[in-house]
Symmetry: C2
Subunit: 223 residues, 2 copies
């Protein structure tokens, strides 16, 4: 994924993201180069797409011991604070799904809303919120899924999707895949066709991808 | 606001929103007219802007007794489900703020994310989430505000904004204005300049606008 990963100091980003491994191709990152001075190199493998994701990936910040001791949290707020990084992610998803006649973007509360809403707008699709139990005001359908300890529930309005609607399910991060699988179940119960999952970040070592088979899955930044 | 309010049956919208008062100008709404068949009339006062908001306003659904008995909740999910309505709101905000050098869009969890994120993308601005206490992983600043009973708190990351940044604060709905005022306080503590508040819906009868003076305030749909 990170064949051209660089670390570039964005104007709005104060904390420089920590290095996560050596710089590829032996090219040393130049933290003093302002983002606006950076140019896309013609001939990059994958064109602008890979480049946008590689650029954005440097803005994911590790926060240790959140939400509890021993967990390293992938903080996307520095990525959101850099307009080029944020829009690079949206653009990449849009390029993947434009022309696939996506009727609706199901986004999972609440960080999923941050990527799902601009993507729905870009695709001229409906935006459908999937929320934790008790948050949606109208008649809802509900699915439970397993957590490390106990269970949680997500809901969608019963009139959210029409039969045969082509939908994608969006979230910021896939860990075990439990929430996303529950969202898929909710969509299927309304007769919708889940075209794909779209995640900004995939925690590959947790193996959540398995749970979401055979639905196609797009993830941009992998750890 | 609703000088040209119409009720148009969107393709993706199954429940027709309830009428809230007489149709202006004596023009009877035509629920059977498909959205795609609707044309903007040349010469409408206010051009496309007013028209877009009037169109979107018909998709706000009243849900009685949510979240508790006696409350009428303004449900925006039918609006989000109609791509034209949703994008009409984003477009209208964008037209208001483009060219004002907005550096960042502060959006209030979690429905504020749904409008704030596409708007940030449209304005080429940073997206900064304001969240309930305990949700943001990195170092945070926190402001309390009064609720009907007791208090609540919102947080922002301490490195979210640079001094002098021009920001707008976005939420789906303004009721008493307490959360928005707290978000403004968070922004000011980081030295940012709050250019305006932007709300999709304003509940005028609650008088929240007073609390937010003298910051300019844009609200599109008023009840």
């Amino acid at each position: 994924m990170a064949a051209t990963r660089k670390r570039t100091a964005g104007k709005n980003l104060k904390p420089v993201p920590p290095r996560r491994g050596p710089t590829p191709r032996g090219v040393e990152a130049k933290p003093s180069l302002p983002a606006r001075g950076r140019r896309k190199r013609a001939g990059d493998a994958g064109g602008g797409e890979l480049d946008a994701v590689a650029y954005a990936s440097a803005f994911v910040r590790d926060v240790k011991d959140f939400p509890k001791p021993g967990i390293v949290f992938k903080d996307i707020t520095p990525l959101l604070a850099d307009p080029r990084a944020f829009q690079g992610i949206i653009d990449t998803f849009a390029q993947r799904f434009v022309g696939e006649r996506i009727d609706a973007v199901l986004a999972i509360e609440s960080r999923g809303f941050i990527f799902g809403a601009p993507l729905a707008a870009r695709l001229n699709a409906a935006f459908v919120p999937v929320r934790k139990a008790g948050k949606l005001p109208y008649a809802t359908d509900r699915v439970s899924y397993a957590l490390e300890y106990g269970t949680a529930e997500v809901e969608v309005h019963t009139d959210a999707l029409r039969r045969g609607a082509r939908v994608i399910i969006v979230d910021d991060l896939m860990a075990t895949g439990g929430t996303a699988a529950a969202a898929r179940e909710l969509a299927k119960r309304q007769g919708a066709q889940v075209v794909a999952f779209a995640f900004v970040i995939e925690l590959e070592f947790l193996g959540g991808r398995k749970l979401l088979e055979p639905t196609p899955l797009v993830s941009l930044i992998k750890f």
